[in-house]
Symmetry: C2
Subunit: 383 residues, 2 copies
């Protein structure tokens, strides 16, 4: 594909593990039955889906019947948010954070347009929601509290357990979008204390187009999409058997390798930071220095937009989190929400490591980024 480019964009999407592809292939070839069919083709597919359900459940410490399969993190979030609020129309309030992914922020905005009150709790300078602020935002008519587990831009971990405890005390349902954290750090739904938790397959080395929603037993939820009675009547549509099998194997591998891989990637991530800091005076870190995903490094280059740095370093595949609207570059909202002045926030670059990242990659990427920054600064001062 691109021999020379170093992939440091694992928070955008991950490669599919070879053993995940291998596990999927039989269900793309001979095992093509519809799990709803009563005949032998259907039974084979049904058993594969059930086995995968157990593997996903194992990774996050729940029972298999508490896992629903979806088409991905976005659908899981929509099902959690719309399904909870539709089930509890007598409660008209939702608490969320100011730094959610659009897959949570947009359904919350929809609720607001349709008569719900939505409170968005801000973050501190480290990019963390303060649990006391979240608790204060809750009311007796709060139907749902939805705070992400790890931020996609900064990797900062949010105090989900404390927030969920406060939500429970108010009788509110606690949801967390764990798309970025599942498979990267140990997670058990029991210790988080949440009722609903979203999983995105393609963030943990499973294919795109598959995800899961943990639904704690006895949680009252309505389906979002409507149709036939798949997934206990909560998620209609013929099951995506091959990708579900892939998600199961990816979860099994994540559970097996998690501790060692997190330590390895954290060391490389910290080396990348040290190398960049040594060659880019004034480089700043976005987010909490330790309460972060081990694979995520979000930095701000001084005096130069992050998009310019990445364009000048095409051997590094990473992202900025900033969006271009009408030709005008907007800084990443998550960084601005932390109190960083917008001109400084434009310097943000997100570097996210993964299973394939090597020490040589880190050395090359640090050199390329530093060189790009220096040449941009030199061009600027020459003008």
């Amino acid at each position: 594909m691109s021999e020379s480019a170093i992939y440091l964009d694992h928070n955008a999407t991950t490669p599919v593990l070879p053993e995940v592809v291998d596990a999927m292939l039989p269900y793309l070839r001979e095992g093509y039955g519809n799990p709803s069919s009563a005949h032998v083709f259907g039974r084979v597919a049904r058993e594969a889906v059930d086995e995968a359900r157990g593997r996903v459940a194992m990774l996050i410490g729940c029972d298999a019947h508490e896992i629903l399969f979806t088409s991905g993190g976005t659908e899981s979030n929509n099902l959690a948010i719309r399904g909870t609020t539709e089930a509890r129309p007598e409660r008209r309030h939702v608490v969320t954070s100011a730094i959610e992914h659009p897959a949570v922020a947009a359904p919350c905005a929809w609720l607001e347009r349709h008569g719900w009150d939505v409170t968005r709790v801000g973050v501190d300078g480290d990019g963390r929601v303060r649990p006391d602020a979240a608790a204060l935002a809750m009311r007796d008519d709060t139907a749902l509290v939805t705070i992400m587990h790890a931020n996609n831009e900064t990797g900062v971990l949010q105090p989900v357990a404390e927030v969920a405890r406060a939500a429970r005390e108010r009788g509110a349902v606690a949801h967390t979008d764990a798309a970025q954290s599942v498979g990267k750090i140990p997670i058990t739904v029991r210790s988080l204390g949440v009722d609903l938790l979203s999983v995105a397959g393609h963030k943990l080395y499973a294919p795109k187009g598959v995800g899961a929603l943990y639904v704690r037993r006895d949680t009252i939820l309505r389906p979002f999409a409507l149709g036939a009675g798949h997934e206990r009547g909560l998620r209609p549509g013929t099951e995506n058997v091959a990708s579900i099998v892939g998600l199961g194997v990816a979860c099994e591998r994540a559970a097996r390798d998690l501790a060692a891989e997190a330590a390895r990637v954290r060391a490389l991530r910290d080396e990348l930071w040290e190398r960049l800091l040594a060659s880019v005076p004034g480089l700043a870190l976005n987010g909490h220095p330790t309460e972060r995903l081990p694979n995520t490094l979000s930095v701000r280059f001084p005096g130069v937009p992050g998009t310019a740095v990445l364009e000048a370093a095409p051997s590094v595949a990473a992202s900025t989190g900033s969006a271009c609207h009408d030709g005008y570059q907007e800084p990443p909202a998550v960084i601005v929400a932390m109190g960083v002045p917008p001109p400084d926030a434009l310097g943000a670059v997100r570097l996210t490591l993964g299973r394939g990242t090597t020490g040589a990659d880190i050395e090359r990427a640090a050199a390329a980024l530093a060189l790009a920054w220096r040449s941009l600064v030199a061009q600027g001062s020459a003008r």
Copy 2:
């Protein structure tokens, strides 16, 4: 898997074509980028999605930008129905048929629970909606008319073009669920005259978990799931690149082989009917004798439930369309809607052929089904 079972359940799901799997594999392996990423990994994925969009468009005769990718037929139907009615809240009426798939019937029932009027047009003894009855059901406040193109149980083709013309005259949006017909018979959205048309990948030899919605340019539609701005802001979530590529190739192959394959399968289907009729006196055909999908044969065995026939013929993998509720066997609703008495409708068996079906399969299946029926009748008369 099951060497000896003959797969006659292609309306439930189809095998994935080997060339479709081959086309997907590079995007499950090295081509893992996120199409939203600006770097080289992202561009490769974006180009693959765009190429697939053109291939799907080609099969149904529309422009590439009129195709949205979804997670399957159920999501396409939900997006069409909910997205249209949310966009037109001043109109409070929907016209549909009495024989829709649950993926259409359930969203329509949701609308009814939320204040919309829903008119369900019945079918005649051949299983067809009468276009004049559909036109009469339309009102000045009809937002949406949604009538399936081919029925999943009987294969009967519905008069979508006539219905869509009447809908246009009323200013209503015309949708058709074409999950069963796309790839089996020639379809152009222009000659059907619809504004929205749903495609399900796994019914036309693409994998499960991917589908499409044709949205005629200038059709006003709101997104159903909410999140980031993928698919022109109408369908959020990271694109399921590999499966989208697979859908594109499946559509290309369908376009190439459609005429020859339809003729081949129709001849086998008619041979199956003749063989069964010769050995099962009183066997009846469900649905119109000619205005049917070429691959679908829905019959009623006399005096014996269809489920019993299929249990007694385990070498034939087919379905009955009947559902078991609380231990009580309910006849297929679609057959009952045609005016067949419920006890007779319990005898229904759906036999649906596909690319892999051979003449030898038909001979074996006919013999096995006839033997099963005869032995059941003999057991019954022996009691």
